[in-house]
Symmetry: C2
Subunit: 237 residues, 2 copies
Amino acid sequence: MKTIEKSTPCELCMSRKFSLFANLSEPHLCHLSDHKNFITHKKGQILFYEGTKPLGVFCINDGVVKVYKTASNGKEQIIRLAKKGDFLGYASLLGEESYSNSATIVEDAKICFVPRESFLKVLAEDTEFHRRVTKALCHDLGIMEDKLTDATQKSIRERLAFTLLKLSETYGIDGNAGEKIDIVLTREEIAGLVGTATETVIRLLSEFKKDELIDFEGKKILVLDKRGLARLSDFYG
Amino acid sequence: MKTIEKSTPCELCMSRKFSLFANLSEPHLCHLSDHKNFITHKKGQILFYEGTKPLGVFCINDGVVKVYKTASNGKEQIIRLAKKGDFLGYASLLGEESYSNSATIVEDAKICFVPRESFLKVLAEDTEFHRRVTKALCHDLGIMEDKLTDATQKSIRERLAFTLLKLSETYGIDGNAGEKIDIVLTREEIAGLVGTATETVIRLLSEFKKDELIDFEGKKILVLDKRGLARLSDFYG
DNA sequence: TGATTAATGTGATATTTGTCATGTAATCAA
DNA sequence: TTGATTACATGACAAATATCACATTAATCA
């Protein structure tokens, strides 16, 4: 079901501007263009599985991908949602390990695959790029520390409120009736994001709606009261 | 209370062999030796605080340091325990951010401080070293994903059992009566490691003792039945 | 040494949250 | 369109865990 088609060369790619590839040299960009594969993925398709070997890195040109671990109880813990401009799989590649997580398309996506050798070549030849990659890894590490701390020290209600705020920050589009979180996530996926049971998410979302913090528009969530959610999430930032 | 004294030069440092500095060139090692500070720290002393700017990296020559975040409820979530050969603070330094966590001495420690410039100089000049740092960061990221998944999907009992196994793996010394975890942690610190309340740790440890999975020897814990703990921790690895 | 503080332990209790069961609504495939 | 599957929803209930209060013991220090 994967579609391979002609794609924008990296030199002209717009989503690159917001990515780690932002400041690469012309020759390196051409090298990547020549070696990459551009693939269109449909919702539900799987990019890679935990435990398999990374053969390169993925750059998201458009769409949304969930990166998650499957716990021993079968539930998915979503590590992050990756969007346009984000890279996938580079940590496992550079760590010289199998994928520590799996990745599945959440919203139809256009994704470039850069093979291992090309990526490593650019990394080796462009020290500045290597430094940016390192910096990104360090930043991600800090984020994971925050997530871990929240997971152990905050209640589900707090975490759900916080998750909604974060989602609206990243995927929010302003409307007349509050900010719409413009991606479709199932309750189960939200539960995976928060780290809880699906039923609990359903109940809490109803509660949030009753309290007029959020509303629903089709399958999407409207954030009506950010301040209220921030208060609930014990987040003062 | 910090003591500055003469220290082994990096070239001769034994704990370096197990660290990221393992394969540095002679000139780089000398450069580090010339610029580092060697400081002896006592239990309870604080190495750095979350939110402050990193001025360099710390290399642990001996001792144990807890790296933790203070949650909004005041509790400490311990991110990791760092021991001989481990580095501290490099993620924040390379991420060009303030410290994302705090570090406090758990067991009396000898620690070298390498100033920012020296560390960055070596990083810039030794590509292989940079690659090893990157690899370590990637590995840590994978570990954090595991921890997050465990934190949301496993019970406290499972996590405590797992924590004890990990501790015995790292700090265990074999004795006639099981494997002794040879560091002193308060119940509160164990709670911070697991991500739970102190009372819960106390109760569960008593339960584990009653079930003859562990025993106490002074302030230290003896692991009597690893298999039993592994079963309890839902860990098959 | 005695006084003070920190660490450990225990009980009672309330709450949060997960689980199971079941039902309805929405979506999808043939 | 219809049957099947998936998503959403709700109730009942049990279990795990946090919190608070208060002992008791150990460690520290003046």
